[in-house]
């Protein structure tokens, strides 16, 4: 938990810098649509996709923590992470579709990478549906943690193995980012501006969600106390 106001302001400044650089400082890239302007979506698409993956890892970490220590807060953190993963996953899918439409002419072509992000979204949704279907907190915590961990190997398999083994359109885009096919200023902006900004946003959203949970607990407690007063 990071306290204070300073880092929130920092995230704001960082994000503004990332947006400014993405649209104004960085030039168009060779070999992309719209005279190379189409490549600029990677400043928002790539961090969203990475955060979707990261949130699954964080969720799995808290699931393990719950199973080891049995504190209900870990389970809540796990669920929060899954929810954020769903949000970022949807962002990555939408930005990816827009890019795909511009580059390859179709919004959706069941490319291995697209299929795998779709299945990851299904996993997040399945987790949340399963979790919401159980009302008793302890039982809900155990069952959803176990489900999150049971789905971990298939999820990692989809993220890391399937798109690399099966041939995909995405490899061209991947090579451009990782292999340095893009112009000089692309990678620094992506790694040092846009990615940390998105990471800060993730932590901020995570904390807000946990604060909401604490308020919810407080509310429950006050309600229970009120009931007891009325009974007396």
């Amino acid at each position: 938990m990071i306290k204070g106001l300073w880092w929130k302001i920092l995230v704001g400044v960082w994000m503004s810098a990332a947006i400014y650089c993405a649209f104004i400082v960085v030039g168009p890239a060779q070999g992309f649509s719209m005279n190379g302007e189409g490549a600029k979506i990677i400043f928002f698409h790539v961090p969203s996709a990475w955060l979707a993956t990261l949130s699954y890892v964080v969720a799995a970490f808290y699931a393990i923590q719950y199973l080891m220590r049995h504190n209900i807060e870990s389970d809540e953190k796990c669920a929060t992470s899954m929810e954020l993963g769903l949000v970022f996953g949807i962002c990555a899918t939408i930005t990816g579709s827009i890019f795909s439409r511009n580059e390859w002419g179709k919004y959706w072509s069941f490319d291995p990478r697209q299929t795998s992000i779709l299945v990851i979204l299904l996993l997040f949704t399945a987790y949340l549906v399963l979790r919401n279907s159980i009302t008793e907190p302890r039982k809900r915590a155990i069952i959803s943690s176990v489900y999150a961990l049971a789905a971990l190997p298939p999820a990692m398999f989809l993220i890391w193995v399937v798109p690399r083994v099966v041939e995909s359109l995405h490899q061209f885009a991947n090579q451009a980012v990782v292999g340095g096919g893009l112009g000089g200023s692309y990678r620094p902006v992506l790694y040092f501006l846009s990615l940390p900004a998105f990471l800060g946003l993730f932590i901020w959203m995570f904390q807000l969600r946990m604060q909401y949970y604490k308020l919810y607990l407080l509310n429950q407690k006050m309600k229970a106390e009120k009931k007891q007063c009325n009974l007396k």
Binding site: A150, P153, P154
Partner: protein, 250 residues
């Protein structure tokens, strides 16, 4: 052992028998086999799971065969994916039975008292795997006959079906215990199991497709089968690690 074998069901596991008389508890392998035996006997008694699965899969098979126009030459991709869709949905229509039955008849608590968690898992897993193999042995040949499948590499085809079948049953077993312990939301079973099984289904469809083509790359096929086998091992280990937590929860 002696006469206690005559009792079927949870009673049998609970019966003190010769190996417990000299102070030692049953080994895990022994317990596993007893649970497997109990489940097979219960299944043979009313045949609920196998009938449900068979009815479902044969109906789907007939629908698929009919709509494909009977003996039409489908391309290998379609043949392989239809076969795995049939197997996936038939497996998921019945494999949750092993744990839901224990919860419905309130025998889960007795089972938890008398045997170790891992023995329960391996017993149920073996039972589900047997059931899946029975389904595959019945459905796959029928499917190939009805749809005129051109089988080029029968050995590899059997291997891909069986490694895929193991993956199907392991994933279904771990999802089944999750569903059973969350007190009966059977409608969720398919929805929750689907994302877990999808990566395996991708490879299984690919492997099966390659066995229908004479010009397919043997290295890719071997890699697919190896991938299926490693997925099986991965899921078996995951199931073994996670099962005690769900099974022993209140």
């Amino acid at each position: 052992m002696g006469r206690s074998n005559a009792f079927i069901g949870v009673d049998m596991v609970a019966q003190p028998n010769s190996s417990q008389q000299n102070g030692t508890t049953l080994s895990i392998i022994h317990q596993t086999l007893l649970i497997l035996r109990k489940d097979i006997l219960l299944e043979l008694r009313n045949r609920a799971a196998i009938q449900a699965i068979l009815l479902f899969s044969i109906t789907t098979l007939i629908v698929v065969g009919f709509s494909a126009g009977g003996g039409a030459n489908l391309p290998p991709d379609t043949l392989a994916s239809l076969l795995w869709i049939i197997l996936f949905f038939s497996a998921f229509s019945g494999l949750s039975h092993v744990f839901i039955r224990e919860e419905e008849s309130n025998t889960a608590i007795a089972l938890r008292l008398t045997s170790e968690a891992n023995a329960v898992l391996w017993g149920k897993l073996l039972f589900n795997t047997l059931l899946t193999f029975v389904i595959i042995i019945i459905i796959a040949p029928l499917y190939f006959i009805i749809l005129n499948a051109p089988i080029v590499q029968p050995g590899k085809l059997v291997l891909s079906l069986f490694t895929g079948g193991i993956g199907l049953s392991v994933s279904a077993t771990i999802i089944a215990v999750i569903i059973a312990r969350s007190h009966g939301k059977p409608a969720l079973f398919g929805a929750i199991g689907f994302p877990i099984l999808l990566p395996m289904l991708f490879i299984a469809v690919d492997a099966t497709r390659l066995t229908f083509q004479s010009y397919s790359n043997i290295n890719v096929l071997n890699r697919d089968i190896l991938g299926l086998a490693s997925f099986d091992v991965l899921m078996i280990v995951t199931a073994g690690l996670l099962f005690p937590y769900v099974w022993e929860s209140e």
